[in-house]
Amino acid sequence: MIQRLRPHKIVLPGEGADMLADAIGRIAQPSRRAFLKRSLTLGGLTLLTGCTTSDQDSIEAALMRISRFNDSAQGLLFNPNLLAPTYPESMITDPFPFNAYYSEDEVREIDGDVWRLELSGMMADRRPWTLAQLRALPQQSQVTRHICVEGWSAIGKWGGVLFSHFLKLVGADLGAKYVGFKCGDDYFTSIDMATALHAQTIMALTYNDQPLPPRYGFPMKLRMPTKLGYKNPKHIQVIFVTNTYPGGYWEDQGYNWFGGS
């Protein structure tokens, strides 16, 4: 079973994003080892090649390096002006599938009245935000296709605050490399700044014009039609801006970090 990480319990000093990344990296080691162990079978290839375990460790390391190279290649391919296709509301997938690293009966119930969005890292104004404050910002909605790393896709409607607008509002360093997220369900992930500033990247507060239900990430998720599902964090509690690679829950176990289009 995958070890659950609880990075949101790490107290961040003012400029602590680097420390956080470092800590996450260390904590993530056990799950990384689990990935290596799970990958050892490699189908029947082992029998054919007579690879030993240490060979396979180096194969895994090489594959991980290529995956990081692919992150760079995808960063170069990314055109910030291209938009994901949008759809009429009649095409919305109903019911929209639930997906997480836990089952639906384990969905966290978060109290919207006490919830605060915390900010950290390279931004000027790190004061926390209430849900009411976020709802008072200009809202926009989108009907877009959510594509899962497992291959399936589904169309949904999300509404909320344009993330680039919010980042500018709090004086985030838009030249920084990464934006990281820590979530109320112990999930964490991070994205490239170019995607954070994309015109369809929104801090989603609604699904189908209703407040985001718990299973879709109440009170707030980041919705990016340019990224695979696991890059769209739910129940966000902390947003931080950093130049130190923050990784992610699945990314540290082998899913591609760029993870999108």
Binding site: R38, L42, G43, L82, A84, T226, N256
Partner: protein
């Protein structure tokens, strides 16, 4: 073509053939594991035939081997085109000749006197697998980067359309490999030629 008439396959061709074979085996077996994550045709591929162990491992193999398939394939097509080998070896493909030679092959009477010369069935099969590989790369691009290639995405029926095209193109590739390997078993000196060049 070099002056040495005994050469069946030039060195560059043998290198690109075997690199391609490695890339295709890695891509097909890891692709089967990726398909198993959502078995959208109602059946799964036996786990022992797949590569990667779990989804992330399979994806890592797939997105590593794709570079080999792509660059090796581009190199193969460019050399073929610029040396004139493409036109000389694979064209023309006459439907009547294909039918005749297909019949002869099925009766076990297709002669393989000169391995340097491809019969019409071979030409059709090799051109098919070249086109099929291009379809695999293009549909794969849509699956990988559906936002970045809007025209290609719409031509291939959107993300979900590209998913099915990618699968069927894989099936076409596997059918080719099956026939290809059976023919090699029936005419083993073709394997020697692809290894030694003569």
């Amino acid at each position: 073509m070099p002056d040495d008439r005994s050469i069946v396959h030039p060195f560059w061709l043998r290198i690109t053939h075997w690199l391609n074979a490695i890339a295709v085996i890695l891509l097909v077996t890891s692709g089967w594991r990726i398909y198993n994550a959502t078995e959208f045709f109602g059946f799964g591929i036996p786990r022992s035939m797949t590569l990667g162990g779990w989804l992330a491992g399979a994806l890592q193999w797939h997105f590593a081997a794709m570079w080999l398939l792509f660059f090796n394939g581009v190199l193969y097509l460019l050399i073929n085109a610029f040396t004139g080998r493409l036109r000389r070896q694979f064209f023309p493909i006459r439907p009547r000749a294909v039918l005749q030679e297909m019949g002869a092959a099925l009766r076990g009477r297709l002669a393989h006197d000169d391995l340097r010369h491809y019969n019409s069935v071979q030409r059709l099969a090799y051109v098919f697998v070249m086109v099929d590989s291009v379809v695999l790369v293009l549909s794969g691009l849509v699956l990988w980067k559906s936002v970045q290639f809007p025209l290609l995405r719409e031509l291939l029926g959107g993300y979900e359309g590209a998913r099915r095209i990618h699968f069927f193109a894989m099936a076409g590739m596997c059918a080719f490999i099956l026939v290809h390997v059976v023919m090699v078993v029936l005419v083993p000196r073709t394997l020697i030629a692809m290894l030694r060049g003569r």
